[in-house]
């Protein structure tokens, strides 16, 4: 199995066997979508993320990254398996989990005609902050992320995609989540914005006791940010470890060749299985 043994959670899902506290524990999580054709989007995934860790999820398009993140953020219910956030069961203790998490998705997802500040104040209020508090904090965070004070009161649909993505990150950070779920936070950003966001994510973890789970297609970003990396392939977690461990195990010079080896080999296996099934 690919799971680090020392990270297997103890029964209540709050500490690992080594006694570290665990921010996120998933056990045997499955999710299928029924339609004309049933899609098994997430297939028996188990993983744990330590408090304070940055965990990167890699995977091709459609490998189940966003589905997994949606389940961790209470937006989708798993068909089977169990998810705990700081020990709280995500279904039984939904409200407590919601207070501890926030998520940034690929799409910016705002009230388009409201300004960055109006959107942030709304978000802050949903998490119990007062309007003036959320306003003051929001302005500070936006400034920190490089959004000029002259732009924060403009309707959001007037801002560039990169700026919107930064506002989305500010919205998540505003609520001081203990567990931050970032679904491709830097997709579509230019190099400079990408670096700014990456630095911000690191600072968040270092300075604010945040645990971060992020998905990305950018292997360099995974290597740069993540303490540990998991590779999802067709809904299954097929490899897990630090960048270094993955390179050593799969014998590549860089993460890209590791990724190709892992997902490529799986594709060949699947092709073989298909031919075997056809000839049987």
């Amino acid at each position: 199995m690919t799971l680090d043994l020392d990270l297997q959670a103890t029964r209540d899902g709050t500490v690992s066997r080594r006694g570290e506290s665990l921010a996120l524990v998933a056990r045997g999580v499955c999710k299928s979508f029924r339609g004309a054709k049933t899609v098994r989007a997430v297939d028996d995934v188990s993983l744990s993320v330590r408090r304070g860790e940055i965990y990167g999820l890699l995977g091709a398009n459609g490998s189940g990254k966003s589905t997994l993140i949606r389940m961790f953020s209470t937006l989708l219910e798993a068909d089977s398996g169990e998810v705990r956030v700081f020990g709280h069961d995500i279904v039984a203790d939904e409200l407590a989990v919601k207070r501890l998490i926030n998520r940034v998705s690929v799409e910016a997802s705002f009230f388009k005609k409201l300004s960055a500040m109006e959107n942030l104040v709304y978000a802050g209020r949903l998490y119990g902050q007062s309007g003036p508090d959320a306003d003051a904090r929001g302005r500070k965070i936006l400034e920190r992320l490089g959004i000029g004070a002259d732009r924060v009161d403009e309707p959001l649909d007037k801002l560039s995609r990169g700026m919107q993505q930064k506002v989305a990150i500010a919205r998540a950070f505003l609520t001081s989540p203990m567990l931050l779920l970032l679904d491709e936070p830097t997709t579509g950003l230019d190099i400079r914005s990408k670096r700014e966001v990456q630095t911000f994510v690191r600072d968040l973890r270092d300075g604010h006791d945040a645990t971060i789970l992020l998905t990305t297609h950018d292997l360099d970003e995974a290597e740069r940010l993540a303490d540990r990396i998991g590779v999802l392939h067709r809904g299954r977690l097929v490899a897990e470890g630090s960048g270094e461990q993955l390179r050593a195990r799969f014998g590549g010079n860089d993460l890209e060749s590791v990724f190709m080896t892992i997902t490529g080999r799986r594709i060949e296996e699947a092709a073989n299985e298909a031919t075997e099934a056809a000839s049987a």
Partner: protein, 277 residues
Amino acid sequence: MITLSDQPKLAYAFVAREAALMRRYWLWELVWIVYGTVTSLSVAYIGLAAPAITGSEVAPSTVSRFVLYLLVGTIAWRFLGLVFENIAEVIAWERWEGTIEYTFMAPVPRLTHLLGMAAATIVRASVVSVTTLFAVALFIPVDLSHADLASALLFLGVGTLAFIGLGIASAVFPLLWTEKGLQMAYIVQAVVLLVSGVYYPTSVLPGWAQALSVISPATYVIEGLRGALIDGADPLSLWPLVWPALLVGAISIPIGLAAFVRAERYAKQTGRLKRSG
């Protein structure tokens, strides 16, 4: 754990958001007010034209009563319709904006969320319908000298409760059917309009529609409002119309909420919360 004292503050988030949206979409609000005024006026002119349409003498006092009868119907329906639509659209609107996952991921109990939206809606519907009433009065003499204001407010309040319940129950459709759900909610609204005697007494309806009119809260609310605004009936004498509407509200809000919570869970199990199709 839910702390009761936090809930008004959380609910206010939705009121403030809707107010901000109204400011930004003010042109649309203006369009709705103009639309409402024009619709109400066209209905009122039917009353003014009663002698011309029927080809017989109609006493001026009868015409004036007829006009008021129609106006009460159209403006009250505007108000209740806005309450219903705003709440029935809670899912569809946020899907369209793209914010639905953020609102549903927030640590806000669903009842608080929906009541917050209801409060915002009451503000909006009041502003729109009062403006419409004044705009109509510019064109047509509206004689409210006999009106009992306390009764009228009582019926608006009771009607609002009932329509919040109906709206919550109808907001369930878009959770179950991502594409056609909203149309289903509008069909509910259209049927309520047909059977509730908004523009005519329910006695003219066929039997099946009269049966439906008995369970529609709008039937009692509109009749009560007419009693209050045209005949100046006091709240006590209108009690037989108050309690049925109150009952529908008292039943439909908890049932609607329970259905909504179940449908939300179903949407999260099937991936329908955000996706369309």
